[in-house]
């Protein structure tokens, strides 16, 4: 059973953290992963940096630019992750844009993911249909869960369709926006979280975008299975470095 599915079965609200591979320094990737696990995080999204991350806000974009500048590539990432499963056991997801994967070769990319112990992928610009028609079988062959996004604007019909072809969790974007652009949730979000909860989907939902502290984490996980923090953590890395990961996670959970 995939580590993601296992984790989702645990009876707790999950905290998932996003960070950009090769940031702040090229060799920080595994350190950050290890420190996150040690701090009690449930799941990690490893950002494969992209030159033109159009679903991301300035914070993550800046970290991607830095990481690329540091020399991060798909090849290098797999190299760094070669032994990660010797020390880390929580689910690891690669989050990245489609073009670098396409250039690597989608099948080759998936194969490498399996080899190093990646459990799933989040590819914001790979549409559900294209995935379904062209890549689903490859992902499955290598035991990878592909995670799709929904937003407050996604129609019920489409949510059900996405639920039907998902086999891990649904990435519930808190509000239609790029990463890092919200602070705090209002009535609209609560209403949306509730609406989705009421749909009783087969896949659990994890909320992303706009979570930055304990308060928003609690709000987000009131109706959902878990929450993902990205920009706030990347900012913390920028300001406090890889050794203080613990502080950040503690501040979210308590």
């Amino acid at each position: 059973m995939n580590r993601i599915n296992q984790k989702l079965e645990e009876d707790k609200k999950l905290l998932s953290i996003y960070f950009t591979a090769g940031y702040p320094n090229i060799n920080d990737t595994v350190t950050v992963i290890e420190n996150l696990e040690k701090s009690g995080v449930d799941m990690i999204e490893i950002g494969l940096p992209f030159s033109d991350p159009l679903a991301d806000g300035p914070t993550i974009q800046a970290s991607s630019t830095k990481a690329l500048h540091n020399g991060m590539t798909s090849e290098r990432l797999f190299e760094q992750l070669k032994n990660v499963r010797k020390t880390v056991s929580i689910p690891l997801i690669i989050m990245g844009y489609f073009n670098p994967m396409l250039q690597y070769g989608v099948e080759e990319f998936c194969k490498k993911c399996q080899e190093v112990g990646i459990d799933g992928l989040i590819i914001p610009d790979l549409p559900v249909d294209v995935y379904h028609d062209n890549y689903k079988s490859i992902f499955e062959k290598y035991g990878l869960i592909n995670v799709f996004l929904i937003t407050p604007q996604t129609s019920e019909e489409r949510i059900r369709y996405i639920d039907s072809i998902s086999n891990g969790f649904i990435y519930m974007v808190s509000s239609a926006s790029v990463t890092g652009s919200q602070s705090g949730f209002g009535d609209a979000q609560t209403e949306y979280f509730q609406r989705i909860a009421n749909m009783k989907l087969k896949n659990p939902q994890i909320v992303g975008f706009g979570i930055s502290n304990n308060e928003t984490f609690m709000q987000a996980t009131k109706y959902a299975k878990g929450a993902i923090i990205g920009s706030a953590f990347v900012k913390h890395l920028t300001n406090s470095g890889v050794e203080k990961v613990d502080d950040f996670v503690t501040s979210i959970l308590t």
């Binding site: 159009l54 844009y97 670098p100 396409l102 250039q103 610009d125 790979l126 937003t151 239609a176």
Partner: protein
Amino acid sequence: MSYNINEKGYYGEFGGAYIPEMLYPNVEELRQNYLKIMAEPSFQEEFNALLKDYVGRPSPLYFAKRLSEKYNTKIYLKREDLNHTGAHKINNTIGQILMAKRLGKNRIIAETGAGQHGVATATVCALMGIECIVYMGEIDIARQAPNVARMKMLGATVIPALSGSRTLKDATNEAIRDWINNPVDTHYIIGSVVGPHPYPDMVAKFQAVVSEEIKSQLLEKEGTENPDYLVACVGGGSNAAGTYYHYLDNEDVNIIAIEAAGHGIDSGESAATSVLGKEGIIHGSKTLLMQTKDGQITEPYSISAGLDYPGVGPMHANLYKTGRAEFIAITDNEAMKAGLDLCKLEGIIPAIESSHALAVFEHKKFKPDDIVVLNLSGRGDKDLQNYIDYFKL
């Protein structure tokens, strides 16, 4: 074999809609409605009336006598430079603003490189009394200052794109981010035949008026609808798409696409996508783009802000791949020289983008009785400072 788009939104293997889910409702709404709306008689009527009375169409098909003499062939210039706002871009923005109104949108965003699309968008927004936000790379803001001033005059908000190469690619990223953040009331007026389906097709159809006019104008002047060659510069590819549109499947007519070679194909500072690009995804579309072997999009370079883009629209990727069009790359220097030449020979100051197309005559020899129709996509008012500095006039 057709070189036009198929029902799935692809030209051959290029096209599609590789977009984040956040954009899905917007793009899907457009995809489902654009052909229907464009076919409505009231849309057609309003579109055509504005093209005629506001834009000043038809744009002339001008026989360039002295240029033709110089190159010993028959050169016709399609005068998109005479359109209101000074380039072909307005054909598309007129269409899209009418589309946006019918979709009930009350906020418009756009990206711009040379500023022509930004001005054309700001213009139609003023015309309709709709809020307008234009994203423009910081570098382009500096090198196309007159167009920035025009956008301000027209009441648009110009937001600098500070990331990446700070040119068109990055402005497009910013515009897409804005759209993600404003998914309900906002329409994104893309300025070229790029982006997710249905944009490439929609923009091409709005620009198709160019080749529609060429057909009847050439018939009047030469007794045939078919030139021997069509020539256009390709940034994203909208003026080219408009020029080729009604000739795409007519293989009697040769198609030439001109790309910007910047300092030279092998200089590392270029925007010649067909030579330097590979298949990939950029701005929601599978097409040819310049990228590292690792799939990072390369920062392009051209002296021309409107051609300084690392991709081409999917129509053009397909025209290249299939060999339907001949692609020629023109350097900064060649373009500038061709631009000045047109000033001196014909009294027309071309946009630097169009100057790239004009340089074709130094690259390729045409026969004396060849009819060559070249899209003079824009006027050079926005580029005066660049020309003056370049030639130390």
